[in-house]
């Protein structure tokens, strides 16, 4: 078999980059070293020691994610939105007549497996409840808007896998999903905008204590984080389902897996 030139090129590139990366490794602090610059630096130390004072959120990752680096997270939500829109823009096309009819027939005739449907009927509410818990409890345990949103989206994907895409789209249509994804970003960015209107910087949750009842500046940060996590969850949930719906139907939103 002849060796393709592209493989030789790839091998060369890989060897070059690999040796470059390995050459720098002697320089790194040892793995797991608590005193490495990254681990004991001012920034990490500040986050770990100050988070309880400045935000009152026990989960440091959530606090950094939604507050200190909240702007990153907002754009991360926008990344998801862009991905969903991009997939729609690239692949979405009106379903052609034949595939629509085929899907109709399939929906009528498909042998609905009793075990699958019953299991899903029992399982999906529990999954969604767990997702809501993950979103709401992100301050105190691992989790937050992304994880909860993905789980919520996955519950809809499960529904589509078992009951068919058509039946699921009747419950959670494409328009609704797009609307909810926009609403999610608006919740996040709108929170930031309200902060600006109240005199703070963009996403400076501290000023929100003027409108949130029973809060002081520090608790306002904690509460605002929950608000933006809910926004993230909206977007992630709807876009995850939308991505699945478009990809599994080749853009026609009919049939599916």
């Amino acid at each position: 078999m002849r060796v393709k030139p592209i493989k030789v090129f790839a091998l060369l590139a890989v060897i070059c980059v690999g040796s470059l990366l390995l050459s720098a490794m002697g320089d790194f602090p040892a793995f797991g070293d608590p005193n490495s610059p990254a681990n004991a630096g001012q920034l990490a130390t500040h986050y770990i020691t100050q988070v309880r004072v400045e935000t009152k959120v026990p989960n440091i990752v959530t606090a950094v994610l939604a507050d200190y680096r909240g702007f990153d997270t907002m754009f991360e939500t926008v990344v998801i939105l862009v991905a969903g829109l991009a997939i729609l823009a690239i692949l979405r096309r009106p379903a052609c007549e034949s595939s629509r009819r085929f899907a109709e027939i399939a929906a009528m005739k498909s042998h609905v497996d009793l075990i699958q449907v019953t299991t899903c009927r029992l399982l999906i509410p529990v999954i969604q409840l767990f997702a809501l818990y993950v979103i709401a409890h992100g301050h105190h345990s691992p989790g937050g808007g992304f994880q909860g949103g993905v789980i919520l989206g996955a519950s809809f994907i499960l529904m589509a896998l078992v009951n068919g895409l058509r039946a699921t789209l009747l419950r959670f249509s494409e328009k609704k999903a797009l609307f909810l994804s926009a609403v999610g970003v608006i919740i996040f960015a709108g929170t930031g905008l309200i902060c600006m209107l109240l005199g703070g910087n963009f996403l400076d949750y501290e000023v929100l204590h003027q409108i949130l009842p029973y809060t002081d500046p520090v608790m306002a940060r904690s509460h605002a984080m929950l608000i933006v996590e809910i926004g993230v969850a909206f977007t992630v949930m709807s876009i995850m389902f939308l991505i699945y719906a478009v990809l599994s139907s080749g853009g026609e939103m009919e049939g599916g897996l």
């Binding site: 993905v150 989206g153 996955a154 990809l247």
Partner: protein, 81 residues
């Protein structure tokens, strides 16, 4: 000892990565990639990155496998390499 679990997981990661690329059946490759994602998730949980592990479990092992399989279903299952 924590190092041993790490080591085993890392070796398995390399094996699954190579397997995912070697298998010619794309459906199988997607599933092996799901395993790869899940091993990653275990490794990160072990390193104390619980949030990252949680996300990877939901995204890497869950959603990306599903959308890969959806695409394989829509295109073709056979791969020439």
């Amino acid at each position: 000892m924590i190092l041993t679990f790490d080591t085993v997981a890392l070796i398995l990661l390399v094996i699954t990565a190579i397997m995912a690329l070697k298998i010619r059946d794309l459906l199988g490759a997607s599933v092996v990639l799901g395993i790869y994602g899940f091993l990653m998730c275990l490794l990160w949980a072990d390193m104390g990155a619980v949030d990252v592990a949680f996300t990877e479990a939901a995204v890497g092992a869950g959603v990306s496998t599903v959308i890969l399989i959806a695409t394989v279903y829509q295109t073709t299952r056979h791969s020439k390499d």
